[in-house]
């Protein structure tokens, strides 16, 4: 059933292929020219625990690229070389044992070659951490991160501070129940791509993740396991400091909260401790009234209670808030207090009945908590 293809279809095919190629080139050129900053890229490791996987990735990518070019090349060559022409006769062979065996064995060997460094790196990264390294407990909540430094006596949220050039072990503790509503806590995953690959925080389990940073800097990350309405808004920032800067950060964080006797901040402190009517909440069976202080502590250290919401002792020293979603400034804080569920769906913080004055006072108070 020899059929000749109509000219229009041949031309269309040619034009479509050419158009696609041009479009692709234009896009790649645009992407290269725009050189946007990519702060969360796994392709730019900034510490040894992110570099080890990156080395493996580069090897794999190189091999995959060669295989891709060879196999797609063979495909395209076959399509052009053996396209139907008047008088072409198809060969009628059913196989070729030698070729088939070779094409089975060669990929198997390549994969075996890849497997060796892979398994080696798995054991390197997941080996037992040294005893004398710094430890930070990481507790994942819907939708924020709590960091506790047991040895340094620091409790903070969403912003992780580490000294440069040394291994830090994150102890990812999966709480069994949610502190706010008592329901089962959900699975989260801790991920700061430039410092290390992800590790899940599984309720009822404790996992470990080793991280380190070569130089002082700021590294973005976010929760990677779908955890509900504001999964997209469960972010995290890590700051790495020289040992000296880190020590002074610890000193700041272990100091008691600033006292405010007067002014807006003083009034704010009073409002912070007053029971306020709940306007709306996503927590079933919650109380009708809460004070900010019912959930948030302004005492430093791991022992401070309550630990239901983030510890706010040194809130003003943080650059972001609410799962590192918003920049820490007066306007964002006011918007958040006005309508927490509007700006961050599913947030477990109740919307309280607050007047604009009360909001401004609380904001002033929070901003005084250096």
């Amino acid at each position: 059933m020899a059929k000749t293809r109509p000219a229009y279809s041949r031309n269309f095919t040619k034009r479509a292929v050419r158009g696609a190629l041009v479009l692709l080139l234009v896009l790649i050129a645009t992407a290269c020219a725009s050189s946007e900053d990519v702060p969360q890229s796994s392709l730019e490791p900034a510490g040894e625990f992110a570099r080890a996987p990156d080395v493996l990735w580069n090897i794999t990518l190189a091999i995959a690229a060669v295989v891709f070019v060879l196999v797609q090349g063979a495909l395209v060559f076959t399509l052009i070389r053996f396209r139907h022409k008047e008088g072409r006769k198809a060969a009628q062979f059913h196989g070729n044992t030698k070729v088939e065996v070779a094409l089975t064995v060669v990929p198997a060997l390549i994969l075996a070659g890849l497997a060796i460094p892979t398994v080696g790196t798995i054991f390197d990264l997941q080996g037992d951490p040294a005893e004398d390294v710094m430890r930070v407990e990481v507790i994942a909540h819907q939708f924020w991160w709590e960091f506790v430094y047991p040895d340094e006596g620091v409790t903070t949220a969403n912003e992780l501070h580490i000294p440069v050039d040394q291994e830090v072990v994150l102890e990812l503790q999966g709480a069994a129940t949610d502190a706010v509503d008592g329901n089962a806590e959900v699975v989260h995953s801790f991920w700061i791509p430039r410092l290390a690959g992800t590790q899940d925080v599984v309720p009822g389990h404790t996992n470990f993740l080793r991280i380190s940073a070569d130089d002082p800097g700021e590294f973005k990350g976010q929760c990677k396991e779908f955890c509900g309405l504001s999964h997209a808004n469960m972010r995290v920032v890590a700051f790495s400091h020289t040992q000296e800067d880190f020590d002074s950060w610890v000193e700041e964080q272990t100091a008691p909260a600033a006292e405010n006797a007067s002014g807006d901040a003083g009034t704010g402190q009073e409002v912070f401790n007053e029971p306020l009517n709940v306007r709306s909440t996503v927590v079933e069976g919650g109380a009708d009234q809460y004070a900010c202080a019912s959930c948030h502590s302004v005492q430093p250290g791991p022992e401070a209670q309550p630990r239901i919401g983030p510890n706010l002792t040194h809130f003003a020293s943080r650059t972001t808030f609410a799962g590192a979603t918003f920049e820490n400034n007066a306007a964002n804080l006011a918007a958040w207090l006005r309508d927490p569920h509007g700006v961050r769906p599913g947030s477990k913080m109740p919307a309280l009945d607050l007047s604009e004055d009360q909001i401004n006072n609380i904001v002033a108070y929070l901003q005084s908590l250096e």
Binding site: P39, Q40, P53, E100, T118, V187, D200, H205, F226, A232
Partner: protein, 620 residues
């Protein structure tokens, strides 16, 4: 005698073979196949609209098209729809129509169960979608990780746990039906190693379904009990374990991937030889590779769980198994290339889609191998890199393969050829749109964009590729519109196909188009693999192909006197369509009120009693 038989039953068997009533009562595998495909394509459009909404939301940072709530429902339903209501049933629909024709049978082994499977599938899909009107669709992801899936408010995830159980019933029954059909109902002479590759892959798929569906059934049952009856299978506070769900889900979920891709691989393995005018290269290898994938598919599930903390030994073991499942997959790709090598390649639309499949599957396969690099998978997992990978496998792979099948067999089903011009426009738009939509997602994932996020802020460096991806998604949508237009135009004024428009190789091309109700006027005797081709051509020792001069090339004709006379065909039945609603009624009962469980159960039971007592013959 006939009256006596009728008195024994609750219902007389219906007799209509045309009109809409005939579609409800049909037990003809061909009509059921068409129903499956039409339903799946409808769901494809609906799931596609959800995808467009998702892409519109993500086209720019801080998008406002969808709320977080709607977004979560849409991405969950998009996944569920495309997997359970599109790719699986489209494969099943094509199997349904073609498998009996390709093995020389008059129907499947259990025609009424076949009809029942379809109705259960349709009602299961409608049950899932009814959640949109009953307070909100499932919103915990298609993977439904506990305890989020047990804790999410509303009934969405309860609909999920029940809807998938209903669909699982349809899949299990279908699996049994196809296994028995393929093993027992092949025409004389069709040994296992003479079966078309598509039939082999259907068989492997059916076995995978048979063993995978019970695993997810257990998990869904536990989820249902956790949600509805306050059980604690996955609640760590009371001794449950969230990781249990993950193991059960992926022990089903990974074979599920092969359930979706193997039928498409089978289709491509039959399309490529036809349009290369050559037998398939390495038939035995391609069959055994399919079987090997079927077995090895059970040993790779934890590669979905490399970040869970299973420990270095388990992670290494699953890294190795994941790497080595790439070997049989590679064998298939090389065999497809070998099939085209030295062929006489005709680029008709089915061939274009089959080539598109091979080309895109190479990319999906390679990115799949990179997931086995566990330390780096910790970077890739749950990012858009994964989204890119599995769309290259399930869209670039499965969907392209299924479209190859639809263009290829359309003339056999409807007697008319889809327009080649529109078909080529469809292919090229889909090919370009697909690569624009999903290619950039590799980059986005590596640049740190997690999946399942309803929004992303400005300044992350993700803006350009997200916009490109959205443009690609809309190009895909246009291509699907072209396909639908093509289908409508072909019905109105398509070119008559004749029995064998592609110079086909397998038995289905030996009968008239559309296939007559009885399939084969006479059951063929099979003497070779690609039997029909060997009836048409003689290969001389020097590989010269010569058409058989007389007789052989002619397809069976309908001009025989009284075609189909005396052929026993299963009679239509009301009962499959009557029994099926029992299941969703029971499911609604679980959510709303227990008497409905009893009602649905009774309906199912009574219909099954009537089913057993139904006479096997129509009154003559």
């Amino acid at each position: 005698m006939a009256t006596a038989a009728a008195q024994e039953s609750l219902f007389r068997r219906p007799t209509a073979t045309t009109g809409w009533w005939s579609w409800v009562t049909t037990v003809d595998h061909k009509k059921i196949g068409i129903l499956y495909c039409a339903t799946a394509i409808t769901f494809f459009v609906i799931g596609g609209i959800q995808a467009l909404a998702i892409r519109t939301q993500l086209a720019v940072p801080n998008g406002t098209t969808l709320t977080a709530e709607t977004y979560n429902q849409f991405f969950t339903m998009h996944g569920l729809t495309m997997i359970f209501l599109v790719v699986m049933p489209l494969g099943v629909g094509i199997m349904n129509y073609m498998a009996p024709l390709m093995i020389g049978a008059r129907d499947v082994a259990f025609p009424r169960i076949n009809a029942f499977s379809y109705w259960v599938f349709l009602l299961g899909g409608l049950f899932l979608y009814s959640s949109f009107f009953l307070g909100g669709a499932p919103d915990g992801g298609w993977f439904g990780y506990a305890p989020l899936s047990t804790e999410l408010p509303g009934n969405g995830m309860t609909f999920y746990s029940l809807g998938l159980q209903i669909l699982g019933v349809a899949s299990l029954l279908g699996a049994v039906n196809f296994i028995v059909t393929i093993l027992n109902m092949r025409a004389p002479g069709m040994t296992l190693m003479r079966m078309p590759v598509f039939i082999w892959m259907t068989l492997v798929t059916a076995f995978l379904l048979l063993f995978a569906m019970p695993v997810i059934a257990v998990a869904l049952f536990e989820l249902m009990f956790d949600r509805v009856y306050n059980a604690n299978f996955f609640n760590p506070a009371t001794g449950g374990d969230p990781v249990l769900w993950q193991h059960l889900f992926w022990l089903f979920g990974h074979p599920e991937v092969y359930i979706m891709i193997l039928p498409a691989m089978g289709i491509v393995s039959d399309v490529l030889p036809t349009f290369s005018r050559k037998p398939i290269f390495g038939y035995a290898a391609i069959v055994f590779a399919g079987i090997a994938i079927g077995f090895m598919g059970w040993g790779v599930w934890a590669h979905h769980m490399f970040a869970v903390g299973l420990g270095p030994v388990a992670n290494s073991a699953f890294a190795l198994s994941t790497m080595f499942i790439a070997v049989p997959t590679g064998v298939k790709i090389f065999n497809w290339l070998g099939t085209m090598w030295k062929g006489d390649l005709h680029f008709d639309t089915p061939m274009l889609f089959a080539i598109g499949f091979v080309s895109m599957f190479i990319i999906g396969g390679l990115s799949g191998v990179t997931h086995a690099i566990v330390p780096h998978d910790a970077q890739q997992t749950d990012t858009y890199y994964i989204v890119a990978h599995f769309h290259y496998v399930l869209f670039g792979g499965a969907i392209f393969g299924l479209f190859a099948g639809m263009y290829y067999w359309w003339p056999k089903v409807f007697g008319k050829l889809l327009s080649e011009g529109l078909g080529k426009i469809h292919f090229w738009l889909m090919f370009i749109g697909f690569n624009l939509a999903f290619g950039p997602m590799h980059i986005l994932g590596l640049e740190g964009m997690p999946r399942r996020t309803y929004t992303y802020p400005d300044g992350m460096g993700w803006n350009l590729w997200n916009l490109v991806s959205t443009v690609g998604a809309f190009i895909i949508a246009v291509s699907i519109a072209v396909f639908l237009v093509n289908a409508v135009l072909t019905k109105r004024k398509g070119r008559e196909a004749g029995a064998d428009p592609w110079d086909g190789r397998t038995l289905e091309w030996s009968i008239p188009s559309p296939a007559p109700e009885y399939n084969f006027a006479e059951i063929p005797i099979v003497k070779a693999r690609d039997d029909f081709w060997h009836r048409k051509y003689v290969v001389k020792p020097d590989e010269q192909v010569t058409p058989v001069v007389a007789g052989g090339a002619v397809a069976a004709h309908e001009d025989e006197d009284d075609p189909g006379h005396g052929i026993h065909l299963p009679a239509p039945s009301f009962l499959p369509a009557m029994a099926a609603p029992g299941l969703p009624i029971m499911a609604y009962g679980v959510i709303y009120s227990w008497p409905l469980i009893v009602l649905g159960g009774l309906l199912l039971l009574l219909a099954l009693f009537a089913w057993v007592l139904e006479p096997s013959e129509v009154d003559h």
